[in-house]
């Protein structure tokens, strides 16, 4: 129950930020701020994956974690190459800060878990995290990105992260 409560809390926090119609509205972010959010979200998932490789002994968790590192690093490489080409730098913003703050709480919680408790928490969080971020990318980011190349990269990224969401769903079911 505690695990579910924490994931739900983080999920609600993200949704609250996503749904804010006034000051903190993800739909109002510019392309460079959106790029910063995506880079931050990628790196957060890479950190979760490294934690999973260090703490889990489950081969399926390891396989998933290695895929997260491989794929998110690939997306980040593409994003940085595009920003370099556009001679632009990502801009920090409220949403990147919120994602980072939430992730630190989760990492702290996960670091104290072992065995099946860790595996279940990690898998459930991966599913919740990908669902939340995919919703954000599909509904708030892609419709509002102005630069065509940045938009194309986000569309590609969304396909990758939807596959991750399905994979996480399979992992959660397999752990029950």
């Amino acid at each position: 129950m505690k695990i579910r409560t924490l994931i739900a809390t983080v999920g609600i926090a993200l949704i609250t930020v996503m749904g804010g119609a006034q000051a903190n509205d993800p739909a109002k972010l510019n392309d460079l701020q959106i790029a910063h959010v995506a880079y931050t979200a990628d790196n957060i998932d890479i950190r979760y994956a490294h934690l999973a490789l260090a703490l889990s002994t489950n081969p399926k968790i390891h396989e998933f974690a290695r895929t997260m590192i491989r794929d998110h690093e690939a997306v980040n490489t593409q994003a940085l190459a595009l920003l370099k080409k556009l001679k632009a730098a990502p801009q920090d913003n409220f949403l990147s800060k919120q994602l980072t703050a939430n992730s630190l709480k989760l990492i702290d919680k996960m670091s104290k878990l072992r065995g099946n408790a860790f595996d279940k928490f990690y898998a459930s969080n991966e599913l919740a995290y990908h669902k939340a971020v995919n919703g954000l990318v599909a509904n708030a980011f892609i419709p509002n990105i102005e630069n065509a190349e940045v938009k194309a990269l986000f569309k590609t990224g969304l396909k990758i992260f939807k596959a991750h969401e399905k994979h996480a769903e399979m992992m959660v079911k397999g752990l029950k």
């Binding site: 895929t67 690939a74 590609t156 990758i160 399979m170």
Partner: protein
């Protein structure tokens, strides 16, 4: 009596072989005789989908998987009996068709990606 028994076994053996030779080409189409020259089938891996998802082949044909995504993929038999290994972006791998290639396969890194290889009729 004994030599006669041996002869009878031989006759039965030859008859079984003749029947099998007559029936097998119709019951196991995987190895059916064909005059068609082997061809190479291309399977693109694009947007996390094997294209085509269902491929019909003949023994001796070749299948080339081409990774057009920005992340690595594999083509791996459902029963893990064959595997292309990791295909980096823009990499390709060709495997010659044998009976063991027939059936379902998936990407080890992204198990929701599935496809199948069947015998061409």
């Amino acid at each position: 009596m004994r030599p006669f028994q041996m002869q009878r076994r031989e006759v039965v053996g030859w008859a079984a072989a003749a029947i099998a030779a007559a029936i097998l080409p119709f019951t196991i189409p995987v190895f059916a005789e064909t005059n068609r020259k082997p061809v190479t089938h291309i399977v693109d891996i694009t947007d996390f989908v094997f294209v085509p998802k269902s491929l019909e082949v003949r023994p001796g044909d070749r299948i080339t998987w081409v990774n057009k995504d920005i992340v690595p993929h594999t083509a791996t038999a459902d029963d893990k009996s064959w595997d292309t290994g990791a295909l980096k972006p823009n990499e390709r791998k060709t495997i010659t068709v044998t009976k063991k290639l027939l059936g379902g396969y998936f990407c080890r890194f992204h198990p929701s990606m599935k496809a199948k290889i069947a015998t061409q009729k």
